[in-house]
Each structure stands twice: as C-alpha cells, then as structure tokens.
C-alpha cells in the first residue's frame, strides 16, 4: 500500500499532497515538513530509500523518493510494495506529467495541481497501484479532458470559468517572485534519473 504521495519543491513548498490515510490538516503539514527535512538533507547520489519510521504509521513504512530539478516526488509506502517498483512508478508518473503538460516544469504543478491530481488518480487509487502503463494513463486523461472540453463548449455559463483554466496565464504574465526558479526548467532530462532506466527492465508498459 502507498500511504501518501507528496510533491514539494527544493524549499519544502508543497506542490501536491495526497494522503491515503486520514490525517488532520496540521498533521499533514507536519508530515510534509518533516519529510522535506529528511529528504532535502540527502545528497544527490545516495540511495532513494529512507526509513521514515515515525512519520506515517510505523517502522513498516519507507519513504521512496526521487528528485527532479526543483521538485521532490516522495512516496511513503509499506512493505508490500517493491522498492524498485515504486521508483519506476515515480518515473512513470513524471513521464506521464511530461506528456500531459508537454515539457512539464514546476510551474505546471503550481498552477494545475488539480490536473496533477487527476493524472495521479489514474495511476494510484486509494493507495494501490492502478495502472502503470503510461499510454493507457495518457489515453484516459485525454479522453477525460475531451469530455470536459465538450462540456465547456456546450455551456455558456461555465465558459468563462473554464476557458481561463485552460490557458497558461503565467506565459502572458511572467511571474517574477524570486524565491523560485521560474524559468521553464524541464524536469527532464535530469541526467541520472533518466539514464537509470532503473530497476524494471521492461519499461513502463510493465
């Protein structure tokens, strides 16, 4: 079982949090903070597993994470998941994001966290891996987007709200708050992680 999926940036700002177990909002924030502290301390070339221990639900759990450019993708899993399998799943997730957003960068995640959630929902459901085939995921996402679009077009009422959400507002309105590296730094390619076609040799269509 996957207990939680967290995405945060190099400064610990949450970009997505998905808990498959109930925690109060305060606890969630605390978990995110602590996870960030654990993960951010680690060098680039150390192993991607951490015994999270006390964070979520005890010693059975592990943190499995990957670091892409400015973002950390952290999966908290229990012993029923294969460590290397989850590493690949993260890779599949990021590649799927890359496909859906076309050269995904942190900004995409910042402004479209809802879409990221939707993509994630096609991969992991209630803490269990639902689909690992990227093409299948993308197909389903596209179909749903199409459905959404057709709904938006058929109704004037929601048009204003929806059409805006489909544009990329930050392109015309460059965001210049300094704390983040806002250039469209692609999550890909990130050298090591991409190169490591990693554990499962039969790539994503496992």
């Amino acid at each position: 079982m996957i207990k939680a999926i967290l995405i945060f940036n190099n400064h610990g700002k949450p970009r997505l949090s998905k808990f498959y177990q109930r925690y109060s909002e305060d606890t969630q924030q605390q978990i995110i903070r602590e996870t960030f502290h654990l993960v951010s301390k680690r060098d680039e070339n150390v192993c991607n597993f951490l015994e999270g221990g006390l964070l979520i639900g005890g010693s059975d759990n592990k943190l499995i994470y990957r670091h892409y450019a400015t973002l950390y993708f952290v999966f908290c899993v229990d012993s029923s998941e294969s460590e290397l399998g989850i590493l690949d799943l993260i890779q599949v997730f990021v590649e799927t994001l890359d496909k859906c957003f076309e050269n995904v960068c942190e900004l995409d995640l910042i402004f479209h966290v809802d879409k990221v959630h939707n993509i994630l929902a096609e991969m992991v459901m209630g803490g269990m891996v639902l689909e690992t085939n990227m093409n299948e995921i993308v197909t389903q996402i596209d179909a749903q987007n199409k459905l959404e679009k057709s709904e938006a077009l058929s109704s004037h009422d929601s048009l204003s709200a929806m059409s805006r959400s489909w544009s990329y507002p930050y392109l015309s309105n460059p965001d210049t708050t300094g704390s983040l590296n806002l250039k469209r730094t692609h999550l890909f390619p990130v050298g090591k992680n991409k190169a490591k076609d990693a554990a499962l040799s039969t790539p994503p269509q496992l």
Binding site: D43, C47, N48, G126, M128, E131, A143, S158, A161, A198
Partner: protein, 1219 residues
C-alpha cells in the same frame, strides 16, 4: 433587485479561478495568511451562489488551500453539491475535494450514498471512474456496506477501465466492511484471470494485500498464483505474486519447495532488477521456512548471496541498499554464508550514504564472533570518531553495545576491553544514550565479578574527570554514566585504591549541577564509600584520619541538603544527621566502622527482568481477598485521625533520639531495599530467602577469577581499548603456542581448570579461551517460575477483521445477489469455479434485506450473531465443494499449460498437480459411490467431515502425495462436546448413473427464501468422451417446481453451465420452489447431453429421481437453552416420539450424525441425554429430546406441524437404524 443581479454577474466575472488564487498567494509573500483569509471570505460568498460553475470553482480553490494546511471541512456540504453536479467537469472537482478532506468523522458523508450510487451506475464511464476514485479515499463502514453490492456489480463491467477500479476499491470496502469479503471473493478470484491485464493486475494487488495480513486464508489460492507466476510476463504482477508467496511459504513449507525451482529460473533469466530482488527475497523466505530438510538448498543460498553481492557491489546506491537489506534476512538463518562477505559489509560502513551505513551496521550485528568482535568494534569506534551527525553516531553507539552485549556477552572474551570501550564511549558528545552506557557498566560490573576491581578503578577515574563529562550542558545525556560510576564505586568500594580521592571527587561543588537522580545516587554512595574508608582507617588505627574524613562529609554534605531535588535533599539530610552522630561517637573514641558498614552489608544478585511476574502465587493465597475486612464508613471516620496522630507521634520520637539500634538498622535496610526496588538502575537483590543481608557475601562458592598477567591491571589515564586488541592478539597467539605445546606433551593439568569454569566454551568455539575466567552471573528467577506468555497481539488491528476463512462456502445470509447473474459468464468460461444456476435476479436482495431487518428487530443480538455463524457453517460445505472442484478441474478449454509458458519445470508441476487432483477426485467419488450403494435408499449423508477430509486431500494433492492414508477426522463442531474422532460423513447422494455420467446431489434449504431450496448436483464424466450441451429437466409437481429463467416454459430444461472433458467433474446448482414442506417429495427428471468423441457425437439421456427429504428443509439454527425452554412451555407444539433399538455407536457420535444429516444443533447435553433444535425454512421450530439407553435411543420431538415432525422422525429412524 436588478442591481443585485447585475452586481452578481459582474462579481462572477471577477471571480478568481485557481490560477488567480495561486498567483495572488505568490504575490502576497508578506501577508500570505491575511490574503488567504480574504480569499476564503470570497470563496464563502461564491459558495452561496446558485451557479454550479462558481461553486465548483470555489471548491477547486479550497482544495488547493487544503494542501496548504487550511481546514476546509466547513465546506463539506458544498463539496457534496459540486459532486452531484451533472457535468463531469464539476463532478470531478467535487470528488477530488471530497477525497482530500472527507473522512469517517465527516458528518455529511452519509448524504453522499445515493449520489455515489447514481454515479457508479452512470452510463458515462468517467463518472463512474471518478466516483470510484473518490470513494476509495473516503469510504466509511456505512458507505462500504451500502455500496458493496453496486461495486461488486461493477467488477463485471464491460469496460476494463471500470473493472480494474472496482476490483481495486474492493480492498477498501473489505477493510471497512469485512462481511463483504466472503460474498465478493469468488468474483475477485475470477478477476485474477480477467482478459485485461490491468484488471488482472488489480485483482492480484488486492488479493496480495489481503493475503499479506492473513496469509493462511489464501493458501488455497497458491496453485492459481503459481500458474499466474509461470505464465505472466507483467513484472508488476510477478513482483506482487512473488511477494505473496514470500508471505505464504512460512505457513506451508511444501509450497516453498515447489517454488524454489521456478524462482531460481527467474533469478537466472530476468533482467529486471526489481524482479530479481523480489525473487531473491522470496527464495530467502522459502529457505528460512525450510531451514532444514532440503538437501541442496545450500546451492540456493549461494545463488542468493552471490546475487546480493552483485547488488551490493553495484554503483547504484539503491541496489546496494536493498542488497544489504536482503542480506540481513539471510543472516538470521545462514550466518556462515554471510560472514564470508564481511569485507564487503565493512566497506559499506564507509559509504557516504547513511541509510547504507545503517543497513551495514545491522548486518554486522549478526556477523560477530569471538574471533572478530574486537576487530569489528574497533572499526566501529573509528566510525564513531569520524561520524558526523548525532543520529548516526548514536546509532553506532547503540549498535556497538548491542553487538557486545548480545546473547549474554557471548562474544566478549576480555571484559577489561569492554569496560574500556564503554569508558571511551563516554567521551562522545551530545549522545542521547548515556543511560545505555550506564546500564551496561552496571550490568557488567555486577555480573562479572572478576572485572569489578578494574571497573571500579575506571569508574573512579570517570568520577575524577566528571567535569569533562558533565561540563557541556545540562541536557547532556552522557552524564548518566556518572550515575553508574558513582554506584559502582560505592557498592564495590572495597576494590577502590584511592577511596579518599574518589570521595572528594564526589563531594565537589560541581556535582550539585548534575541532574537530581544522579546526585541522589552520589549521596547514597558517598556514604558507602565513607563507610569503607572509615573501616580502613579504624583498622589501621588512624583515628585522626577517620575523624578528618567525617569532618569532610559534614562540611560538604550541606550543599546537598540544600538541593531543590526532593530525593537528594532527603537522603542528604538523613545522612548528614547520621554522620553527625558518628562524629559524636568518634569524639568519644567509640569504634563505629563496623556498625556503619553493616548498613550496606549484603550481596547483590541480578534478577531477571521478568522474575517478579513469574513468582507463582502460593496455593490458597487469594490476592484479591481482604486481609482485614475494610472498616465500615462510620468507623473509619472516627478512627482515621487517631491513627495518623499515632504515626506522627512515632516519627517524632524517632527523630529526637537517633539511636542506631537493631530495629532502626532493620528499618533503614528495609527502606534502602525499598528504594533500590523502586530504582530502575539498581539491579534488584535476590528475592530468594537464603540471601539475606545478614549473610556475609559467600565468596567461596564463586569461582575466583584469575586475571591473565599479560593484561596490565591498571591502565594509566583514560583507557584505550585499542591496546587490548593488540594484547589480545598476542595473548591468543601465546595461547595457541601453549596449546600446541601442550598437545605435544599431552598435558591436561592446567587446562582442566579452564574447562571447569567454562562449560560454555567448548573447544570447537574457535579455540579462543577468554582472557578472564568469566563468571557471568545469570539472572535469577524465582523457583517454579511460571512459563511466560507474552505474545499479545494488538486488538485494534484493522486487518484482523479480514481474517476470514474464504474456503468456507458462502452462507445464504452472506450471499449477495450479485452471484446470480453469473450464469452467462460461467457458460462461457467453464473453468470458473462456482457455476451457479440460480436465477433469481433481483428478488433475493430484497428478501435478504428483509430477513436481516427481521433479525435485527428481534433485538437478541447475541442470538443473532450466533445464528449467523451457524448458518455460515451450514452453508459452508457447498462452497468448500466448489473450491475443491475448481482445484480439481482442469480447464477444458485451456490449451495444455506446457505450450503456454516458458519455464518448463514450473508448469510441469502444475500439470502434474492437476492430474493428481483428478485422480484424487475420482477416488473420492468412488468413495461416495460405495457409500451410495451401501445406503440403498435415500440417506442423508452430510457435512463437515467430508469437507475437512477434502480440504486435507486438497492440500496433499498440492504436494503431490496422493494415496494418503486416512487422516484422523476432526470432530464435528456442531453438537460435539468431546474430541472423540468421528467417522467421515458425506452429504452427497447418488442421483443417477450410466456409463457416461454419474450424478450425485445434495439439497440445502435457502434461508433467504422460505419457499426455496438449492440442489447442488455434481456431474462426473466417467467416459473417455467429451460431454456437452447438458440440460437438466424435471417434471414439476404441484408442490415443487424448478426455478427456470423468465420466459421459459415448464417443459424447458435448464442448461448445465459447463462442459465436461473426460474424467472431470463439476458442480451445478439448481433452485427449486416449494409450497409445503411438511412432506418429503420426489421429482422425476431427465438429463440430456451430447457425447462427443472421435467417431462423432450422440445424444444421450439419463433419468433420475430427485428426493427431497424433510431434513433438507431444515436449517441448522442454534438455540439458547432458555429460549428452548420457553418454546417447549409455549404449548403450541405437537409432540411425537420414536425409539430405535440396536444402537451401537457412541452417543456423541449419534448426536453428530443427527446434526450432520438432519441439520440439528445441540442445545444442551447432560450425560446421555440431549436437547436439540432446528428450524425449517418456513419457520417451523423443531425440538428434540434424545435419550440413549443401553443400546437403544429414544427421541421425543416437538414441532409446530405434526406431519413434518412425524416425517422427520421417520427419516431419523431410518438414519439411526443403520448405525
């Protein structure tokens, strides 16, 4: 008004969407909280509007704020509104918000039930999908119960997209509503073979997750998973299955044996590291479960270790980490194989990655031996010095202590070395584990008598340098060691050479900055020290020196008397008083040392931590009984003040005259003992009566330690453990030389001595004799200690509820209607396991609900529960048979497995096991046939016995051992009071037979429906031809009719939903409706089928007579004796009785037979008399009183219906007359 509307629409145009909100937050870095609270106000306004788009937008923003840590539960109702929007766009937003913030405590969640149900059945698959996804995050027990049916239906949805989601969410449903597991399980199992790989993978996922928690219930699925493992190419699925096998093998070692080969093949062939790793892991689990008995498993271990070495040597840190992790599992059972890779593991200690270092440390723990302990610890000490970051250093520290102290210091050959190590560890700054070191020091000093002198000298040094240890901060955990140091110096002060110096060190003003509990120990032990110095001086006749030391104490103690710590203050003032008194005596030149020292006389023995618990309570002692009857309230009020007053007076008088008389001493000793007993750091003195404080320490019987002279007794300055390593090497070398010499000389004298003290150390143990003849005092246990029972499991384990036996057949009360729809599918897939031919569509659902409600109304919870359980048991057989059939049936349509999959060995085994099952099935049927012949007429043979037998056989067949001798039958639960073994009983009777086919059948009442029974027919193909197009038809009577699909006439037969290849049998079920159940019924029927062989196909027919006995209308129902008595008293029951002579079987046996064949349950049994109860599907109560005489049995029956009763009794007579 109009203005308002215009304003509203303008507002809407300026509504922020999610992107605006995010941007806004980013632009308000300074006052983010304020900005967000503004936004929340806006959102609240938006939520008040009617426009669903606006609402959805608001909810979307809330979801974002939730991620930032804002509680949005206040908007739960709005979220539900958005969830129920008709548009997918909004619905998705709503469900996402719900999945992020709904939980069991959300009160409005119950409002969602109908909406979710609607979405689940939506024609748009994405509506369904989004509802499933959302539900998976916030499903509650109520939702699970209400929606289980709908979700189960979705498991057979036409779209794989829905199927896989429905399958996956079932796990969550099971967790919240465990009752759904059994009804849903057959379908879930079916999904393991779904044509869509995604669905298959989801099913594997769910079953693996279930099996991980309660593996034993899923053992029966092993063959199926085995097949999947050898045929699947999906690595995700493979990994899950292999992990599952890892969980199953400990329960069934024979399964492990079977697994080794395919797994080894996979290890050799796969290029996927993850798969390789999981294979290795499971092989390890298998090897652990086998641990012995496998002749060639060393090869497998070698393979694993070798593969793991490759992982560890890999530059990929992840693989390295996992390699070490798996290595530590091997270590537990096969330490030798791992030890040869010590170099590699030590190397990992240098890794820059902390996780890897920690893993390596874990491994080292298991790798130490006498030979390498010093070396390994030396390496670790180097790492301690180098280590950055306290966590890792602390980890190292605890590991060093763990490694050294494991199994009662088994690997330590030189305790001086160990003490030095401990002292060296005290130099660690900022460690949290001071108390650990302290505990070790205490333990070693107490238990290893030989080391006391050395330990005391080291501890004295620590005390002397206390300023170094305690200097840094108050919070410094390391100062805990001073606690141990002070205690050791005090307790074993006779070994102290410079006692004066140590005493002074303990009296330094700096000491008062230590934590209170340490100061307390200081105070207590400085008196011990003082006492021994006093004695020394007095013996030496140095009166002045003695007085000086007393004076010193009197001067310095007040600093402790002023302590804010209660304990310190109390002890100090008490002791100060004592010493002042001593001073007075000294002035009078009275020798006091003897008396003072008597305060601390007595030997300490370590007591096992559990000793107290294990003291048996003496016979006749009731710990709960009052020693004195508690005084009544009125009395106590009067007397209480008196006693208090009395006590106070006593105390005062003592204060005034602090005479050290015998009584006072005893009291103090008592107090001291008390104090020690409550002191966790104090190793408690023995509870055994021989060792009283009066006894002088029995030194004689303790083996005296001889210290090897090659080791200097006192090391100047702080000790350096390193030198011991060298010394040890030299010593060992010398020893070896000596030994060699001795061998030549054939000498024994000196070494004989060695052995006497070290029965532990046999020659084989690496030939290393310890430097000291160590006497490790074992911890004491009370005499007749009770065996411990520690394994208490967490009662709150949520997975416990899922510990459900899935092999049991489904009870009617559990069955959910979903199963009935499976006809069509089963027709297509004859290999699916439960071919039911019950055409009930929607009826049963309602019926069942009604039934449940009825039960609930009864209010007798207990009774109900018990009933349900019994019903389950009752219905179990059917299902057990089904599973068995599934196991025994080779899928006729499937191609031969060999052709299908690559690793030949694995599949060969599968094929073999299937064959075995076939054979075994035949055997069984033969048995049944025999029995059928014996009982020429209808005989109700039934139940558990047979099932148990079968399940055992099943297991056996898995293990390839057919032709088993009869298993000792297990007693029938129902109605059995003794564990007397019962003969097997079968419930299936012969229906009809010809050269092609044999039919046996069994009839079960249907609890959900008062006018239905289910007939299960086993069809067995006896020929060498293929049987197909089987159709069963009966001639309905007025009373009894076969339930046919809607639209078909009474003359139409019902197709049997499978075909039968040669030698195969399978079971189908048919439902019959009846009006009256008071009489037995017979129905004529025909089975028509096509026989297909090489020559062509022919039409064949087989006639049969279906006999519905009255007992088949009864349903085993438990009854409490009081309810039973009421029933009998009620007077509306008719009575009848029978008597059967010539009964030779035991009474218990007889009851079991009645229970089994006639569906009764025992209410009460007294000697050879029992009352029994059962209920018909139409609610007739049947009560029996069974009495056994010499060799006869009389049965008195009472029932609402006299005809039913007499028929039942007739049937019973028939059964019994055969006994």
């Amino acid at each position: 008004m109009a203005l308002k509307m215009v304003k509203g629409s303008i507002d809407r145009m300026f509504d922020k969407n999610l992107q605006d909100l995010v941007r806004g937050i980013r632009n308000h870095k300074e006052d983010e909280a304020k900005y967000i609270s503004q936004c929340i106000d806006e959102i609240k306004q938006e939520l008040k509007q009617d426009n669903i788009a606006v609402k959805a937008n608001a909810v979307c923003k809330l979801t974002y704020l939730q991620m930032l840590g804002y509680d949005i539960s206040w908007a739960a109702f709005n979220i539900i509104e958005v969830m129920s929007a008709s548009k997918f766009t909004f619905k998705r937003i709503g469900y996402l918000a719900a999945s992020q913030c709904f939980h069991e405590g959300t009160d409005v969640i119950m409002l969602t039930t109908n909406q979710i149900r609607k979405d689940l059945s939506s024609p748009n698959q994405y509506d369904t999908g989004v509802a499933l996804t959302g539900l998976s995050c916030f499903v509650t027990p109520d939702l699970a119960r209400d929606l289980a049916n709908d979700i189960m239906t979705l498991m057979s949805h036409t779209k794989p997209y829905i199927r896989k989601k429905a399958v996956l969410i079932m796990y969550k449903v099971f967790l919240k509503y465990p009752e759904s597991l059994r009804p849903a399980f057959p379908r879930l199992k079916e999904k393991l073979e779904d044509p869509d790989p995604g669905v298959q993978s989801a099913a594997v996922n769910v079953i693996c997750e279930l099996a991980r928690r309660n593996p034993k219930n899923y053992l029966s699925l092993a063959p199926l998973f085995f097949k999947l493992m050898t045929s699947s190419t999906n690595n995700w699925v493979l990994i899950k299955i292999i992990k599952l096998f890892g969980a199953l093998t400990p329960l069934e070692p024979r399964l492990g044996k079977k697994l080794i080969e395919p797994l080894t093949n996979l290890i050799h062939s796969t290029s996927a590291m993850s798969l390789l790793y999981e294979c290795v892991n499971t092989v390890i689990a298998v090897l652990i479960s086998l641990s012995s008995g496998m002749p060639n498993h060393s090869a497998s271990i070698q393979l694993c270790v070798q593969k793991l070495r490759i992982l560890i040597e890999d530059s990929d840190q992840n693989l390295k980490y996992l390699g070490l992790l798996a290595m530590s599992k091997i270590l537990k059972t096969h330490p030798k194989s791992v030890q040869s890779h010590k170099d590699l593991i030590l190397q990992c200690l240098d890794d820059k990655d902390e996780s890897i270092r920690l893993r390596a440390l874990d491994l080292l723990y298991g790798m130490v031996s006498k030979k390498n302990l010093m070396e390994i610890v030396k390496k670790l000490m180097i790492h301690v010095d180098k280590a950055e970051g306290t966590t890792y250093r602390d980890e190292l520290l605890t590991k060093i202590i763990d490694i050294c102290s494991q199994s009662n210091y088994q690997y330590i050959t030189n305790f001086e070395w160990y003490i030095s190590i401990l002292v060296e560890l005290t130099r660690l700054e900022g460690t949290r584990h001071g108390h650990l070191i302290a505990a070790q020091m205490l333990d070693v000093a107490i238990r290893v008598k030989a080391i006391r002198k050395f330990a005391v000298s080291q501890m004295a040094m620590l005390l002397d340098n206390a300023h170094l240890i305690a200097s840094n901060t108050q919070r410094n955990g390391i100062c805990e060691v001073l606690y141990a140091a002070a205690w050791i110096c005090g307790e074993f002060s006779e070994h102290l050479e410079e006692a004066n110096q140590t005493l002074e060190a303990m009296l330094r003003p700096k000491v008062t900055t230590l934590p209170g509990h340490i100061q307390a120990v200081y105070v207590q032990n400085m008196v011990k020290l003082y006492a021994s110095i006093l004695q020394q001086k007095e013996q030496a006749g140095e009166k002045e020196a003695a007085q000086e030391i007393t004076q010193l104490m009197i001067e310095r103690l007040p600093q402790f008397v002023q302590s804010a710590d209660l304990e310190v203050q109390e002890r100090a003032s008490c002791i100060l008083q004592l010493i002042k008194y001593i001073q007075k005596l000294q002035v009078k030149e009275v020798p006091v040392a003897e008396e003072v020292i008597a305060l601390f006389a007595g030997e300490l023995n370590p007591v096992a931590p559990k000793a107290q618990k294990k003291v048996p309570v003496p016979e006749g002692l009731d710990l709960d009984a009052w020693i004195n009857e508690p005084p009544s309230d009125s009395e106590s009020e009067d007397e209480k003040p008196k006693t208090i007053f009395h006590e106070e007076e006593q105390r005062h008088s003592r204060h005034r005259q602090p005479e050290i008389d015998e009584e006072e001493l005893a009291r103090r000793r008592e107090a001291r003992k008390q104090e020690q007993a409550n002191n966790p750091f104090y190793i408690k003195s023995s509870p055994s009566p021989q060792k009283r404080y009066q006894d002088t320490p029995g030194v004689e019987h303790i083996p005296v330690v001889q210290i090897d002279l090659s080791v200097p007794l006192k090391v100047p300055g702080m000790p350096m453990s390193d030198q011991y390593v060298k010394l040890e090497e030299e010593r060992r070398h010398k020893q070896k030389l000596e030994k060699d010499k001795k061998k030549k000389k054939q000498k024994k004298e000196k070494r004989g001595k060695h052995h006497r003290h070290n029965s532990l150390h046999t020659e084989s143990e690496e030939d290393i004799a310890p430097a000291h003849h160590v006497d490790i005092i074992t911890e004491e246990m009370p005499e007749n200690a009770l065996p411990s029972d520690e394994d208490d499991k967490d009662p709150n384990d949520p997975y416990k509820a899922l510990d459900i036996d899935l092999d049991k057949p489904l009870a009617d009360s559990e069955k959910l209607p979903v199963q009935r729809h499976r006809n069509v599918e089963t027709l297509k897939s004859p290999d699916s396991e439960v071919p039911l031919v019950e055409k009930k569509s929607k009826k049963p659902k309602k019926k069942e609900k009604k039934h449940k409600d009825k039960e609930r109304d009864k209010g007798k919870k207990k009774e109900k529960e018990k009933k349900v359980v019994e019903e389950e048991e009752e219905e179990e057989e059917k299902k057990g048979e089904d599973l068995d059939f599934w196991l025994s049936t080779a899928p006729p349509t499937a191609p031969t497995p060999q052709a299908q999959s690559e690793p030949g060995t694995g599949t060969a085994v599968v094929a073999e096991s299937q064959e075995v099952k076939k054979e075994e099935r035949e055997e069984q049927d033969e048995e049944e046939e025999d029995e059928g012949k014996k009982s020429s007429k209808h005989k109700k043979k039934k139940h558990k016995k047979e099932k148990e037998e079968k399940s055992k056989d099943k297991k056996k067949s898995k293990k390839k051992s057919h032709h088993s001798e009869e298993e000792p039958p297990v007693s029938v639960q129902n109605g059995t009071l003794e564990d007397e073994p019962l003969p097997p009983m079968s419930s299936y009777r012969l229906l009809a037979e010809n050269p092609y086919i044999k039919m046996t059948y069994d009839i079960q009442g249907n609890l959900q429906n008062d006018s239905q029974v289910t007939v299960s027919v086993i069809f067995e193909n006896k020929s060498t031809s293929f049987l197909k197009s089987m159709e069963l038809n009966v001639l309905d009577s007025l009373n009894t009719k076969m339930l046919r699909p809607e639209g078909s006439s009474v003359h139409d037969g019902i197709p049997v939903p499978f075909q039968l290849p040669p030698g195969i049998s399978n079971e189908a079920q048919f439902v019959f409706t009846l009006q009256s159940i008071v009489m037995a019924q017979k129905l004529k029927g025909t089975l028509s089928f096509i026989v297909k062989n090489d020559e062509g196909s022919t039409h064949e027919k087989l006639d049969f007579k279906l006999h519905f006995s009255c007992a088949s209308y009864l349903i085993t129902t438990p009854c409490y004796s009081d309810a039973f008595a009421k029933l009998l008293e009620s007077g509306d029951l008719h009575m009848s009785s029978i008597k059967v002579d010539g009964i030779s079987i035991s009474f218990q046996h007889l009851l079991a037979k009645i229970c089994f064949h006639h569906h009764f349950s025992v209410v009460e049994r007294v000697d050879s008399c029992a009352s029994m109860y059962s209920r018909s599907i139409q609610g007739h109560h049947v009560c029996l009183l069974v009495k056994k005489g010499e060799n006869s049995v009389s049965i008195d029956g009472k029932c609402n219906d006299s005809t039913l009763l007499s028929n039942l009794l007739d049937e019973m007579k028939e059964t019994l007359s055969k006994c």
